[in-house]
Subunit: 438 residues, 2 copies
């Protein structure tokens, strides 16, 4: 509300708060340097991360630094310094004995690769560590999928172990929460530091990254995904870890099943040999092969050993053992099935599937799970490139709550099939590894 001010007879209005002497300091100079596009030196990154975790630096300057980093980008040596500072913020695990291989996926829809590949690689005699997470946005989480099996409780993991994992990279927990609030999640450098710091602190001796690219992934374009893949491999190599990164397709759901428990069913069926979706199969084998490579398995033995573990049933037995260790049973695993209420999502016209709104599919599947339980969800029948007639089934909805028409609306039909996309667009290997592999 405008009000009439008292006018100073001498024409001076005093504003005591207008100016204050700013505290000059290294932190502000660092922020100004990053704002103007300069690279910060390692000791500055170390000081900022340590101060933030200790609480001597508050959210505001770090939020500004994250935004400047997201816009200006981080140079390779800055990502190394940030990652190193993050690793030093907490405990670092070391596994005695053979190299432990870790696998990271940047997250996708219908992405059952982790569930399958961990027992598969373990069955090949390679020690596997996998930091598993909960569902994030429209993508599923491996823990949720495991817990869909009756009796499985991932919180049965030894308390000491859980406590330990909570002491790994506390800087990442704090920084990720801040990035989430400040629009700075999408930054190659910050993403790479977050991912790799946890792998290093978690004791991984070798790492395979599965970077998803496409409309269902956090990286929308192949170019972006390739940049992240190279950044991850270079960064892990810089810490002396053998590493590979795949760029794999997420223009559409990877496998057939999208949900929680129904993805576990798909993983079980895949491992048991009942049904192997070809796209899922290509991704699983590519990841498993890289995991064996970085673990030091001779290159000629990689493919045969993987196939043998799969076909002999060893991988499936390893999966059963994993379930049992978490409180589940073979019988429970074998009993699980998609929700019995099924309804088809129908093609409204003749055409070819040219696009699938993968984020929508992921979100609809999560709605179905929330309404009808773990075994509700969506089963993709017509992948991109599939010709359909009016009335053909595009997908199958499991569970009574989700309207199949909403699922059908996520499919775009066109005249001609789009160019085929490989499931695995490329593999980035660290230089040493590619030399030794030849």
């Amino acid at each position: 509300m405008p009000r009439t001010g008292e006018s100073d007879p001498q024409g001076m209005v005093i504003d005591r708060a207008e100016q204050s002497v700013p505290a000059d300091g290294w932190l502000r100079r660092a922020l100004e340097a990053k704002r103007d596009g300069a690279a910060l030196n390692p000791s500055t990154w170390q000081r900022i991360v340590a101060g933030y975790v200790e609480g001597t630096i508050d959210d505001a300057p770090v939020a500004a630094l994250l935004m400047a980093s997201a816009i200006r980008g981080l140079k390779g040596e800055e990502i190394v310094a940030l990652t190193d500072a993050m690793v030093r913020s907490g405990d670092v695990l070391e596994f005695a004995g053979a190299t432990v291989v870790d696998k990271h996926s940047s997250g996708g829809v219908g992405d059952t690769v982790s569930l399958i590949v961990v027992p598969l690689v373990a069955a090949c005699g390679v020690p596997v560590a996998k930091l598993s997470g909960r569902a994030l946005a429209h993508t599923g989480g491996t823990l949720d999928k495991l817990e869909a099996i009756p009796g499985v409780r991932t919180d049965l993991t030894p308390a000491a172990f859980v406590a330990q994992s909570e002491r790994l990279v506390p800087a990442d927990k704090k920084l990720y929460a801040l990035r989430d609030r400040t629009g700075t999640v999408r930054s190659i450098g910050l993403i790479a530091a977050s991912i790799v710091s946890k792998k290093i602190a978690g004791g991984a001796g070798a790492i395979v990254f599965d970077v998803k690219a496409g409309r269902g992934a956090f990286m929308r374009t192949l170019a972006e995904a390739r940049t992240l893949a190279s950044t991850l491999v270079r960064l892990a190599s810089g810490f002396g870890r053998r590493a590979s990164a795949l760029v794999s397709d997420m223009e559409e759901p990877l496998g057939a099943a999208v949900g929680t428990g129904i993805e576990t069913v798909e993983a079980r069926d895949f491992l048991r040999g009942d049904e192997r979706d070809p796209r899922l199969s290509e991704n699983v084998l590519a990841v498993a092969h890289e995991m064996l490579r970085v673990a030091g398995v001779p290159v000629d033995a990689v493919a045969p050993r993987t196939l043998d573990a799969l076909h002999s049933g060893a991988a499936y037995e390893r999966f059963v053992a994993l379930i049992e260790a978490q409180g589940g049973s073979r019988a429970a695993l074998e009993s699980i099935a998609p929700h019995p209420h099924r309804a088809p999502a129908i093609a409204p016209a003749r055409g070819v599937v040219v696009a699938i709104d993968t984020v929508a599919i992921g979100e609809l599947a999560r709605e179905a799970v929330a309404a009808d339980g773990d075994f509700a969800g969506i089963r993709i029948v017509a992948h991109i490139g599939t010709p359909v007639a009016a009335g053909d089934v595009l997908a199958e909805v499991a569970g009574p709550s989700l309207d199949p028409a909403r699922v059908a609306a996520a499919f775009t039909l066109g005249e001609a099939a789009p160019a085929a996309r490989p499931v695995v667009a490329c593999v980035v290997r660290d230089a040493d590894l590619s030399r030794s592999a030849k």
Copy 2:
């Protein structure tokens, strides 16, 4: 400290904190848009500023927004929206009667213009409002200079008035403190919004901005200063205020005196007609002329009226009245003089003054004041372009504590005089004003 971790027999390490479902929201989307270089709409700026002042939005997202704004820049309509939101955050003064003219300087060294121009313009019959500040970094503050006069206490300003000024633009106080901590002070859009919001809320009907450019100013280059000048004029015009902006030189101290009380002495001597530094005079007259113009004084009357106020002693009498209103007296004003201890800063060799480290001069003068009181400081004798012989006086130090050699070190001597720089590089006027002035 690396420690040996317990290895999970099944190869799954659970990291419960790895992923959390992020809260999706308008604010994060706004931050992402600004990060990617988009313009935010007025309602978004309004919502952010209001939320920040109310405390429903905390420092972190605002710090990130400020950094994104500093790097990406703000479009004209965004600056208007931000300024409007800032004005709305507090009270708005309105002066009854004639248009009140306000004057803003972006701050410099030896910049006595405000002290001189306020009584000068008031003596021309134009009501003047001036929001005055304290010293900032290496630059002096008008309040400090006034209080150097014995008896003058600017806090004698009516309590109601002080309380009122504290309710003006609370958003600016909060945002400026955050900018200061996050390396985001230097941003044309944020600077313009900060300056103009206070002028609008303070009831200014017309505004003259004196934007300093050069090594002693916050704007280092003429181009930067010109951009700020145009932005300020466009912004003020957008709020219906008549406005002009000068870009004036700050490659070296403006007048001769640099300090606190010795600048007041210079202002007194200028107004009384004892001594008028030609550079200071040029700047004072340019500012006074623009203030009269924007107040609606007919263009032909501007220069004569100003000179008359100066030469008749009316401006000086107005200055005395101002001092008296703040608790001082004519006798006190007439008694003030530089600290009696004087020492020359000597040219070490023959040459021409080609540069003066103006920030250093400002900082040394503040040191002298801190050590020896208000009337210590530096008097510039050799401005840029002055030829000197070895042993000639470059400057005079008032007060015993400051080593004159440190002052001499701020002068760079060269072979040839650099190209002359005008004191006022340009004047930017709003379109309506320039039309009506022709």
